[in-house]
């Protein structure tokens, strides 16, 4: 019996140790669009005739102490449960300072930093898992209570992987921070359990990523071009079947110009035992397309741990 218990404990410890070596997803709490717009923390834009409201997170952090308190509370709870979070506020600050540094960085001969539009577009706060937060203080007669929604979203599959919603206990307290703290404490356990299940699933069935294959308009070929009697698109799907965990992936879109694969399950480690992510996995597809019989020059771009884009035709 003792031996069995010891064996189980050893397996659990090994499991935890191995998982800790895998590339950890970055988790970030982001106030929801609805919360930002309700509170007035947004900017309006005319997008070629369509009026758009975009959340202004910087404004929210600078003006809303309640938000900071809720995030701080959730950070504390999540850290205790082994899920340290990345601060959106600090990320925004460091993006600003990095941008300023890049703008003024000059070589001895007067050269500056090269930055393509896509590089600039990627200079945003990135997270693999987004914790979308909304809360509202309600009144029920003389009492007040907080309605609370926390949704954990996978940034690449857009799946909701954990959720915590509900109302805090009604209270005569007029102190909003106290009401918020109670609501957070009441709902965080379910949330962190769901998150743990998601990580267990990753370990079991591989990380879920999203892969796009596109083409530059300067390239004369397309995904319907045939090699040895098979279309290029079909050959890419065959490669996916052979290289994903248990052949699990979905072809979300496929045309002659682009393909989109989602729910692509990739192993957490390569054959050498090194932790891999979307970039490392898709680099193999890039090599496959660069080699004969295709010999297609292509460009690989990635976004976080779970999204990769291959553009065919040029670097």
């Amino acid at each position: 019996m003792k031996r069995k218990i010891l064996l189980v404990i050893t397996i659990i410890l090994l499991h935890t140790q191995v998982f800790s070596q895998a590339k950890k997803p970055r988790i970030m709490i982001v106030p929801s669009d609805a919360w930002c717009i309700t509170k007035g923390y947004y900017s309006s834009f005319d997008d070629q005739g369509t009026k758009k409201q975009i959340p202004d997170y910087k404004k929210a952090f600078q003006n809303d102490l309640d938000l900071k308190l809720v995030i701080s509370k959730i950070n504390g709870i999540m850290a205790e449960k082994g899920f340290p979070l990345i601060s959106l506020e600090q990320t925004l600050k460091s993006l600003e300072s990095n941008s300023a540094e890049d703008a003024i960085l000059t070589s001895k001969t007067g050269g500056g930093i090269t930055e393509s539009p896509i590089d600039k577009l990627r200079k945003t706060a990135k997270a693999d898992i987004i914790m979308d937060l909304s809360y509202r203080v309600n009144e029920s007669g003389p009492k007040k209570y907080v309605s609370f929604i926390l949704a954990g979203l996978d940034a690449y599959s857009n799946k909701e992987i954990a959720t915590a919603t509900g109302n805090g206990a009604p209270s005569f307290s007029v102190d909003v921070p106290i009401l918020l703290e109670e609501a957070v404490l009441n709902h965080m356990d379910n949330f962190s359990n769901s998150l743990q299940k998601h990580f267990d699933d990753l370990f079991e069935n591989g990380r879920e990523i999203s892969i796009y294959v596109k083409k530059f308009d300067t390239w004369s070929g397309d995904l319907e071009k045939e090699y040895n009697g098979e279309e290029l698109g079909t050959l890419i799907e065959n490669w996916m079947k052979a290289n994903t965990v248990k052949g699990r992936f979905s072809t979300a879109d496929a045309t002659e110009n682009q393909m989109h694969f989602d729910q692509v399950r990739i192993p957490l480690y390569d054959a050498s035992g090194n932790a891999i992510d979307a970039r490392a996995f898709t680099r193999n597809l890039q090599k496959f397309l660069s080699a004969a019989p295709f010999s297609i020059v292509n460009k690989l771009m990635t976004k976080g741990l779970g999204q990769a884009v291959i553009v065919l035709g040029e670097k």
Binding site: V30, D33, S43, F45, D47, Q48, K52, I54, P55, D56, Y57, K58, L88, T91, L92, L95, S99, P117, I118, K120, L121, K123, T124, A125
Partner: protein, 318 residues
């Protein structure tokens, strides 16, 4: 040997025609120049992005060897910006991604005649719309082959303009000179580029007689001013003030004989009134031996006195 000589002679104008770009000149005299102009009509373009676009156009003309001063502002390079796509990403911070079609035009901004045009597509990204515009405009390369071809095409059309309109330009200048508007005449004539050989030579041949008329007119004006000063205060101080005016007169002017007589009159008057010796130092040479250069300077001075904000006619260009 004769054939080789003939071939080299035949080639010489070709080399001469490209001289503007290969050899730098310190002034705009005899050069084709383009003024950068960003019209108000560009829809919804942020003000700071407009000034970046203006700088970019100036950079294009400078790198093409067509940069100029306020001297020759007839021909312009201008642009129209069309937003092909605009995306705002729901990220932190929100990013504005713009895809712009920038059409460049060269033409006669006074007559409103478009000479040549080309389009370039650029993309820009920034934390706000202004930054996205600036980022996109920075992407216009002066070394772009389409832009180089467009500049050459525009230059050829400008040259054609001078070749076909030469007689009108010359007669306009003569008409201005006959009205005593000499500086304006110099401004008009000095815009003719050296590359338009026949027209340039015609302009040179009429600049010299016009300059002489202008010089004589200035002589009369200055002499009158000096006489007025002397009449008001016939003493040593008055003589010094009148002498300052007289020293500005070109010694080759037609009325310089009268100047000499008047100087003698002043010297005599000072001796009688103040018992002092007043000496005027006569210039022995022209103020500026290079008549063409002087005419250009006068034309330049005229141009600089004109209102800075020239309203160009680009109606129907896009």
């Amino acid at each position: 040997m004769k054939k080789l000589l003939f071939f080299l002679v035949a080639l010489s104008p070709v080399f001469g025609a490209s001289a503007q770009n290969s050899q730098g000149k310190v002034d705009d005299f005899g050069r084709i120049t383009l003024a950068a102009y960003v019209p108000e009509q560009i829809d919804d373009m942020p003000v700071s992005a407009r000034s970046i676009l203006s700088n970019k156009l100036s950079q294009i003309v400078t790198e093409s060897g067509l940069g100029g001063s306020a001297m020759n502002e007839r021909f312009i390079i201008t642009a129209n910006v069309s937003v092909m796509s605009k995306n705002i990403t729901p990220t932190a911070p929100a990013m504005h991604a713009l895809s712009l079609d920038i059409t460049l035009y060269i033409g006669d901004g006074i007559d409103g005649t478009k000479f040549s045009s080309t389009s370039v597509s650029v993309k820009g990204v920034g934390e706000n719309e202004t930054k996205a515009y600036i980022s996109a405009i920075k992407g216009i390369s002066a070394n772009n082959n389409a832009i180089k071809t467009f500049i050459e095409s525009g230059k050829a059309k400008i040259l054609k303009y001078y070749n076909t309109k030469c007689d009108f330009i010359i007669s306009d200048a003569q008409s201005l000179a006959s009205q005593g508007r000499y500086e304006e005449a110099f401004y008009k004539l000095s815009g003719i580029p050296e590359i338009s050989k026949d027209c340039y030579n015609k302009a040179r041949s009429i600049i010299i007689p016009i300059y002489k008329k202008h010089r004589d007119k200035i002589c009369q004006t200055r002499l009158m001013e000096a006489k007025t000063i002397w009449a008001a205060s016939q003493n040593y101080d008055g003589a010094v003030a009148a002498g300052d005016i007289l020293s500005q007169i070109d010694p080759t002017a037609a009325c310089y004989g009268e100047v000499k007589k008047f100087v003698a009159e002043i010297a005599k008057g000072v001796k009688e009134k103040d018992n002092k010796e007043w000496q005027f130092i006569f210039k022995q040479q022209q103020l500026d031996s290079d008549v063409l250069k002087s005419a250009y300077s006068l034309g330049m001075a005229y141009a600089n006195r004109q209102p800075q904000a020239v309203v160009y006619n680009v109606k129907g260009w896009w």
